[in-house]
């Protein structure tokens, strides 16, 4: 089950000249997570909601255990999880009536204002049409209904569960008149201090935040088509597209940018799109961010790193960290065409990291053993990294930290991970900073 570590890797300069790294083929472990994995996290983030998960007991049990680690978040948001375990005969003989009964039962018991129904691999394979079942139930149950179709065999590694969960919200929205100057902030996590910072910048420019998704209550979500969508995370794009298609809701992508100059430019473009002057706020926040990054650079200079999956572009993240003086040893995944400028920037900064397609944990382990970075950025088992003496870091937070908070959070997380500290602020600290805005309550 082992192969050479570096034989499949090529240098970035070679990749940009057209040579591709060898793709790992064959069995892997643990492989990609399924859509249910992400949907389980998302279920906790919607106040006054319930989520009914439909599938074999093993899928539901694993989701139950995963959710139990987030009990605090579930309780805080007032979200409930319920399970409909399927038997093989339910799938063979049809389970529409069973599913309908289950939905009525959850609505009666939990009285949610919003009910998500999440499917898994086996009902998807057998063609259970949860969308049609929900359509037939709308108006007969006292809750807004959203179908979240997930599986573990398609769109893997593309945040399928998160996208499906958010996109399902279009089903619970109402056609409402447009409110001038109102925006929705579309993310994948509840608002953190960085989101508050962005919201204040928007409000200073004369805009109002209608909804933060996820986080706002069902009634606010229902009226979201009244406001322009600002996409903070690419996984929210399918929702924005669905709202554009169904309600004509305009959308603008702020993106998940790491380099402060890119963040500033994106903010100014957003202001142009919304008809507001965001340049003063961008200048002020850029200056504040630059001061923090100058401090970070003194401690990050010369630290070698490897990088895998991150929110946004791993090539932009690598370029950002290289600009802070860090040394990229390897990057998992070849650059996409739109990532070429950052790949070229890395070369211009004097770095020519290895590029590999490791195909899972075992491949990452081989890269780590071969290159021995001081820190690995991305997803890898903690036991593996600890055994190799490599620090571990994710660049993001449990909270939505958009705009200039992206580079500050990324640098802070790397600093903390190298120091052996916690990567994220305590939730109480995050929630307490600056108070809780009205649109998040």
């Amino acid at each position: 089950m082992t192969r050479g570590a570096t034989e499949a890797a090529v240098r970035l300069s070679e990749v940009l000249s057209g040579r591709q790294p060898e793709r790992h083929a064959g069995p892997v472990f643990p492989g990609h997570h399924c859509g249910l994995f992400e949907a389980t996290f998302m279920a906790a983030l919607f106040p006054a909601s319930a989520t009914l998960v439909v599938g074999p007991a093993s899928c539901l049990y694993q989701a139950q255990v995963l959710a139990a680690r987030r009990t605090g978040a579930l309780q805080a948001a007032g979200a409930a999880l319920r399970w409909l375990p399927l038997r093989q005969e339910d799938l063979a003989l049809g389970c529409d009536a069973l599913l309908e009964e289950a939905i009525r039962e959850v609505v009666a018991e939990c009285r949610p204002r919003l009910l998500f129904v999440v499917t898994t691999c086996t009902p998807e394979i057998t063609g259970v049409d949860v969308g049609a079942i929900l359509s037939s139930l709308r108006g007969t149950v006292d809750a807004r209904l959203a179908a979240v179709r997930t599986n573990g065999f398609a769109d893997l590694g593309r945040r399928q569960g998160t996208k499906a969960f958010l996109a399902a919200l279009a089903d619970i929205m109402d056609p409402v008149p447009r409110r001038p100057g109102a925006v929705n902030l579309l993310a994948t996590r509840p608002p953190g201090p960085g989101a508050v910072e962005l919201a204040r910048a928007l409000e200073e420019a004369g805009l109002t935040v209608h909804a933060f998704i996820p986080g706002s209550p069902p009634e606010t979500l229902a009226g979201a088509p009244a406001a322009v969508n600002v996409i903070l995370d690419a996984a929210a794009e399918p929702l924005a597209r669905a709202m554009e298609r169904r309600f004509g809701t305009p959308r603008c992508d702020l993106g998940h940018r790491y380099r402060p100059e890119d963040v500033g430019a994106a903010l100014v473009r957003l202001g142009d799109f919304l008809g507001a002057d965001l340049a003063p706020a961008a200048d002020r926040l850029r200056a504040r961010t630059a001061a923090f990054l100058a401090h970070a650079r003194r401690r990050l200079e010369g630290v070698p790193f490897g990088i895998g999956a991150v929110e946004g572009s791993r090539y932009e993240a690598a370029a950002f960290l290289a600009e802070l003086g860090m040394i990229p040893l390897f990057i998992e995944g070849a650059p996409l065409p739109e990532e070429r400028p950052w790949a070229e920037l890395l070369l211009a900064l004097g770095h020519d990291p290895a590029v590999a397609l490791p195909g899972g944990t075992a491949g990452t382990a081989r890269l780590l053993a071969a290159f021995r970075p001081r820190i690995y950025i991305g997803h890898a088992p903690a036991e593996l990294l600890a055994a190799l003496g490599v620090a571990h870091c994710h660049l993001n937070s449990w909270w939505s930290e958009p705009a200039f908070a992206v580079p500050r959070r990324a640098a802070a997380n790397v600093l903390n991970a190298l120091a052996g500290g916690a990567p994220d602020p305590e939730p109480a600290v995050a929630a307490g900073r600056g108070g809780r805005p009205a649109w998040a309550s």
């Binding site: 064959g26 069995p27 255990v65 139990a68 382990a365 088992p381």
Partner: protein, 448 residues
């Protein structure tokens, strides 16, 4: 009763994986979509995760494999990779998707076994066949059938005792195994194969030469019966709990293995814990002498042992007992004979929730899922999985044996001594929910 559940019991697919995780030199191929493999890694309890890397693989079926076929080729490739990994044997475990689409893992496995000469075990329940105990039991039985050899123990070796039933996800097993080893050593016995945790095919090969099997959890029963029938290894089904219960368990082991129980053993063992004579002495002050009511939810041998401990040693009422799997009418009758006022066999949890609401216990000995069903119970003590809120790595905190009795009594006493630990039923206002502090009368502490 509704169709929706608040908690879910694990199925045979998970039980099989948990059992196979515990065999060090066995490579495991999870056949199907990779999400199951990912969840298995992510949710593995501390101590079990490191047992996965380098041993587990997934065929990671994708859309074309599911709709057009092609899964057999991926499975064959994964099995060949596993057979070439240096493992003594390989197991293939079909997930719900693989079984639903009818992938014939057995045929592929037979072909690869013939090619490589490496034994390949096949488990095709797929999560549709039954409970986690069923799946783990099937795995333990298959391991014994394939590897346990008859014969005498190696020359000079002490007679071994098999421990049958635990898996990688058995709650508190490191500590319970340590106490079982200690207790058996008091009789001059050593532990042989532990199915299935931190064992190997070589240890399993010697399981047929053991002088006794102790079935610690229901999953161990099929293997114990096989070892008894095929190799003449007697077995006992049950665990030692409490003062008297531990002594009687040791007496049974001694009788079955021809050993003598050292005289005065129980008195010596408990000499360090004189205060354990009554729970009331440890819960002095305002709680002293109250008639707390206990509810127990655990696998059968644990539930039976705790029921007896609560009745005999703590002198508490056992208001309700839940068995997630059906151990048969004899077990239910035994629990009732031990003093359980109500026994519920309920995998789904709804009947158990109703039983708890009616019984209004003050203390719930159970899993995190049980706690989620009855958050109103004032005192919760973890004795079973799933327990994602509890780390149970330390081997000095057993539930079984005399040390387990001391540890459990101390744990419960501490919980009861804390402010607001448990208000006795008599203290609650009529109609109040247990644990509702606003309605509980806070009277003066009774005098001693």
């Amino acid at each position: 009763m509704g169709v929706v559940t608040r908690t879910v019991q694990p199925n045979d697919f998970l039980g099989t994986l948990w059992a196979l995780t515990g065999v060090r030199d066995l490579a495991v191929v999870i056949d199907g979509t990779a999400g199951c493999s990912f969840f298995h890694m992510v949710n593995a309890s501390p101590g079990a995760r490191e047992a996965l890397f380098g041993r587990f693989l997934t065929t990671a079926l994708e859309e074309d494999d599911v709709t057009l076929g092609g899964g057999e080729e991926k499975l064959a490739a994964a099995l060949r990779a596993a057979c070439g990994s240096g493992a003594a044997a390989v197991a293939v475990v079909s997930n719900p998707v693989s079984t639903l689409i009818g992938l014939d893992a057995a045929a592929v496995a037979a072909r690869v076994e013939a090619e490589t000469g490496i034994p390949v075990l096949v488990f095709q329940g797929g999560g549709w066949r039954g409970s986690a105990d069923d799946g783990a039991g099937e795995a333990m039985l298959a391991l014994c059938r394939r590897f346990a050899a008859p014969g005498a123990p190696p020359s000079g070796a002490a007679p071994g005792v098999n421990l049958l039933g635990p898996t990688a996800e058995t709650f508190n097993w490191p500590a319970d195994e340590a106490e079982l080893r200690r207790l058996l050593s008091l009789l001059g016995l050593e532990v042989g194969a532990v199915l299935a945790w931190r064992t190997s095919t070589a240890e399993i090969a010697r399981a047929g030469t053991a002088c006794l099997s102790v079935v610690t959890h229901p999953a161990g029963l099929p293997a114990a019966r096989h070892l008894a029938e095929a190799h003449g290894v007697p077995y006992i089904y049950g665990l030692p709990f409490g003062r008297r219960g531990t002594l009687e368990w040791l007496e049974r082991v001694a009788a079955l293995t021809g050993r003598d129980l050292p005289p005065g053993l129980a008195a010596r063992e408990l000499a360090s814990f004189p205060s354990l004579s009554t729970l009331a002495r440890l819960t002095e002050g305002s709680h002293r002498g109250r008639a707390w009511r206990v509810a127990v939810s655990a696998p059968y041998p644990v539930a039976a042992g705790l029921t007896r401990l609560a009745r005999e040693d703590w002198r508490l009422e056992v208001a309700a007992v839940r068995l997630a799997g059906d151990p048969g009418p004899a077990a239910v009758a035994e629990l009732e004979a031990l003093g359980a006022q109500r026994v519920v066999v309920d995998p789904g949890g709804s009947a158990w929730r109703e039983a708890l609401a009616a019984a209004r216990p003050d203390i719930l000995l159970g899993s995190a899922a049980d706690s989620a069903l009855a958050p109103e119970v004032p005192v919760h003590v973890r004795v079973a999985a799933p327990a994602p809120d509890t780390v149970a790595l330390y081997d000095g905190t057993p539930l079984v044996g005399w040390r387990g009795y001391a540890h459990l009594t101390q744990t419960l006493a501490n919980a009861l001594r804390r402010p607001g630990g448990a208000a006795a039923p008599a203290e609650r206002a009529p109609g109040a929910v247990a644990g509702d502090r606003s309605t509980a009368r806070q009277g003066p502490a009774p005098c001693c």
